[in-house]
Symmetry: C2
Subunit: 343 residues, 2 copies
Amino acid sequence: MDDDKVRMTVGEVRELAETVLGRLGLAEPQVNAVAATIAAGERDGCTAHGLYRLLVCAHTIRAGKVNPDAEPRIHDPAPGVVRIDCQGGYAQIGFDAGRPLINDKARRCGIAALAINNCIHFAALWPEVEALARDGLVAFAFTPSHAWVAPAGGTAPLFGTNPIAFGWPRPGPHPFVFDFATSATARGEIELHRREGRRIPLGWGLDPDGDPTTDAAEALAGSMLTFGGHKGSALAAMVELIAGPLIGDMTSAESLAADGGAGASPLGGELIIAIDPEGFLGGAAAGHLTRAEQLFDGITGQGARLPSERRYQARERSLAEGVEVHAGLLKEIEALLDGTLTA
Amino acid sequence: MDDDKVRMTVGEVRELAETVLGRLGLAEPQVNAVAATIAAGERDGCTAHGLYRLLVCAHTIRAGKVNPDAEPRIHDPAPGVVRIDCQGGYAQIGFDAGRPLINDKARRCGIAALAINNCIHFAALWPEVEALARDGLVAFAFTPSHAWVAPAGGTAPLFGTNPIAFGWPRPGPHPFVFDFATSATARGEIELHRREGRRIPLGWGLDPDGDPTTDAAEALAGSMLTFGGHKGSALAAMVELIAGPLIGDMTSAESLAADGGAGASPLGGELIIAIDPEGFLGGAAAGHLTRAEQLFDGITGQGARLPSERRYQARERSLAEGVEVHAGLLKEIEALLDGTLTA
């Protein structure tokens, strides 16, 4: 093990996250729900959603952007729709409250939608679509963020990094899951290039005049770009619409305006759609889902990777051997609490 | 007007398509439904789905791949789901039969799904999501095709060109609509490069050994690639799953196998999802949809184009001035019928 890394079990990661979030003032159920996502991020090698995220939570909570005592309120507007108002708390409490309800509605109607409203979001969608796929549902999730990304052919930020996630139930231990930003890269990746003085590839960003740039600082001051040109841009617009106005919540531009320069996590909504395969096919569904396995074999059989493969490999390793966390990050987390963490 | 082009009204295009499809042996309702799509394609400047498509229809019908007398059968398996079995006819008759039913179900449940099964498809999804958006619904459509496209990191064809389409109702004359292939480009575009002896850009295809190529013929013999690297590849896999096994229908690999070398249009299914904005928001929906207009203003206000803008401009021009059709194409269409068209 490197000198500057500390090995922790996934359980220890979760306990640390719970302790810190509690000391930051969050009440149950937010402590549990957010700590679970942070532990899942660290476990799955998604370090941007791991313990590092405690620094972002601390900043967001201290900026007064989170309702620490939020309790989700359930609205039941239609047979196939449920809305959870998070009351300004983290999105995870909305998902926890909504999961059994969207399960029930998807099984009764064949398809259902869950809108999570008025929540602070840190855009880790894969735990949610994975959970629904483990429930036997096909699931989609979408959320806007802050307006950082220019539309294709444009010159100024309008869209968020607007991730799209998808989960598909499989007979084996792991569902098929993907979760990606519709921006060309993560904002944190550009930030990392800036800190390290490295240039970014063309296609990641525009300078404040709207011209292509390889200067990370210029791109952060200007606009990020979507992946896949006009197609990625169309998808980013779709996410704004369906996880914004469609569910009565903010666009990324509105979220950034509401932030008022605080630099906190995005505020807004999330849309989840879930489909019960038996809604289409009844008892024949299981046979057709087995047929889908041929598609996965067709991908892996030619040496290509399934989107979730690296995450599941990291998970197995982490559960067996624990995770390695930078000692510097642990010091920063401790400093958040003015040294009281180990007191 | 160029010497080699013939000006026709959109009505004349539709009449020509109806005449040819009827002579090719299609019965009602397929003649009407397919001619409507062909006229819409020609009108909107999507010439690959315009009169040219009659040549593809003729080939597919004469190869015995279409049931000319198909009449859609309706299945009603769940409150939020409808399935239309096209009985081997063109997908358009499934959409025509399913449109009022998905409207009704989306309004009752808030969200609904329409599976179109056992159909011949020519992958023009925008007329369908546009129609549903004009009905006031938010709509998504997906269909696989033939296995021509390699997964990211792979070397051999597995996915179809697998388009994704989206429609959003707007107060003005035109809904927000996009419809794009998850392949980097259309197969016809690579075919065009081959015929003209032009090289294709890197990123469009792989040769039969699975190596990147700029030779159009090699890419056609090998694999096409998805747009947007592993993200586009993940979306292509999603389309295979949700418009294939989820609805009890074929993947692109199964469709190509069923084709048996005939070179006919893909056979399989299509998934449409529709959401009623009032299902989430009741009477408040209209206000939030108006708020979405700010997003469109934010796109066009910085000089970027909405995805559907060129199509709507072509439409207005075509409806006012008619369309210009290559005289050579009209001769080919006439030759299909052994000169009996003008007899």
